[in-house]
Amino acid sequence: MNNKVIVTNNPLIKKKYKDLKIIFVEDLSDVYKKCRDMVHKNWALISHPLAGSVKPAQNPYRSIVLVSGEKFDYYSLETIENAIAKLAQFSHNHKKREYSNKIKKDYQVIDLTLIDSALKN
């Protein structure tokens, strides 16, 4: 597990995965940008950057698992770039808004369970 890292803006991930290396960023788009930058430095995606069927930009929380590698992974780059394009497209019609704490928590839980499922394997 030592060569894995979770890039996230989800506080629940930080709370649960204390033993894992976590890069915590403030904003959803920062999660994607950070991952893209890491892919350029030979990190590869473990989990797919798009979240299940929850639409990009709809869930304000996102976590992505990466692993360090020896060489550049083109598939990871293509996948993260496609995800960034989809995020931009969906953000266009999805105004940022302040959700209630309950909804925030629900979105955090959804993101957490996707990562639980990714790390289980």
């Binding site: 299940g52 069927s53 989809k86 969906f90 979105y107 394997n121």
Partner: protein, 428 residues
């Protein structure tokens, strides 16, 4: 495996003293049913409502839709692994209450989604405005976690559908359809001159609110496998998928998979329908690679010349769709993909999150980003307050008069990727 589907036409549902089917009407003893489905101590309250096509009613947020069926002959029972035991299904006779449906609703998470309008312009976008629906609105104790809440509502829906299905045990069907799935060697030998066509059936399996079950097993835990189409008609696959109303496969849709029905339609005439491979849509890239490798291997092992591949959901599963497509094509197996599109409100954006030149035969079920205004309804069952925060909703979605402006992705099955809807795109 040979299954007879006995279809009993239902054109009305009413509450009554006894649960029975008579003269195409399904009568329901409300108290008896409530006693059965309230038994879970985590449930606070359940409301039952009957709605009909044409009613000025909006149901929101819908979790699942289930068709009442009952096994009258043969091994096993409906919804194996949940309601019935572990016996294999897909043989004998199953009776269906055609025209009736159980619709479950409940606020599992704050952003739950799924609209069924029984009349007005929204009704044209959902097949479930054409069925007579028993709506089950279930409230649970406050401290219940989301995954438990989903499970409670899922089980209440399955129990309700099973209870109603039992009313069809001794009824003579209006119509009987026969579906047979022969052993592979026999099936291949039957029409040696026709192309051997299979179906790759992708199941959403990513985690909380994104799950599908096969004989009670969470599909994320399976490796791709073979299944008889008749098993699916007996409820071997059920939905625990609450996300993306427009393109999730409700249990009703699994039971009535139109891809399977159409593959049977020209079987022995235009092609030889060999069988179904089910596969999952997991979170990690490694899982996606493994499942698509395994799917392609199975397709080759059963000797397919061509396959239809249907996706469930959007985004991350686009990667599974493309992997399945390219790997089958690499083995010389022709593919046709069924998906829907998120091409922006003007339809001008890239439709999928992944693509490949090998995917050159694609059927679309429509653009889920199209916007529609749904007029107010006389009655709302469920929780209309969610209109602003459903997928496809946006600030100001819910008008003061009760109208809702949303992308059609908020409407149940509007762009269903098994084609259980009316939308498509045509070139002129």
């Amino acid at each position: 495996m040979k299954l007879e589907l006995g279809k009993i036409k239902i054109d009305d549902i009413e509450f009554a003293d006894e649960t029975k089917v008579s003269s195409s009407t399904l009568y329901i003893n409300k108290e008896e049913l409530l006693e059965l489905i309230r038994e879970d101590s985590r449930i606070i309250d359940i409301n039952l409502d009957i709605v009909h096509p044409g009613d000025s009613v909006r149901i929101i947020p819908v979790k699942d839709v289930i068709e009442p069926r009952v096994k009258v002959e043969g091994e096993g029972g409906i919804f194996p692994g949940f309601i019935a035991g572990e016996d294999m299904v897909g043989s004998g006779r199953t009776n269906v209450l055609k025209g009736a449906a159980v619709v479950t609703t409940g606020d599992i998470v704050g952003f739950q989604e799924g609209i069924i309008d029984m009349s007005g312009p929204g009704a044209d976008y959902t097949p479930f405005s054409k069925t007579h629906n028993l709506v089950v609105d279930c409230d649970v104790k406050e401290d219940i976690k989301q995954h438990e809440h989903e499970e409670i509502i899922r089980m209440v829906g399955l129990k309700t559908a099973t209870y109603l299905g039992k009313a069809a045990v001794d009824i003579e069907p209006d119509e009987v359809e026969v579906y047979e799935h022969k052993p592979y060697l026999e099936a291949a030998a039957e029409y040696p001159d026709l192309p051997k066509v299979g179906y790759v059936y992708m199941l959403q399996s990513q985690g909380l609110l994104h799950d599908t079950y096969v004989y009670g097993v969470d599909a994320k835990e399976i490796i791709p496998t073979l299944i008889s189409p008749t098993e699916i008609m007996d409820g071997a696959i059920i939905s625990g998928n609450c996300v993306s109303a427009c393109d999730k496969n409700a249990t009703y849709i699994h039971l009535n998979n139109p891809v399977i029905e159409d593959l049977y339609k020209y079987h022995g005439e235009k092609y030889n329908f060999i069988g179904v491979i089910i596969t999952n849509e997991n979170v990690t890239l490694a899982d996606k690679v493994r499942s698509s490798n395994y799917t392609a291997k199975l397709a080759e092992m059963i000797g397919l010349d061509a396959a239809i591949i249907s996706e469930e959901g959007f985004g991350n599963p686009d990667a599974d769709l493309i992997m399945n497509c390219t790997k089958l094509e690499e083995k010389g197996i022709k593919t046709v993909l069924i998906t829907d599109e998120y091409a922006g409100r003007d339809g001008a954006s890239q439709s999928l999150a992944d693509a490949d030149p090998a995917g050159d035969a694609v059927v679309t079920a429509g653009n889920a980003n199209e916007v529609i205004t749904l007029p107010p309804m006389d009655r709302v069952i469920g929780h209309q307050k969610f209109a602003d925060i459903i997928a496809g909703g946006f600030d100001g979605s819910l008008g003061e008069d009760g109208s809702i402006s949303v992308e059609i992705q908020a409407i149940m099955a509007s762009t269903n990727e098994l084609g259980f809807n009316k939308l498509t795109a045509r070139g002129y």
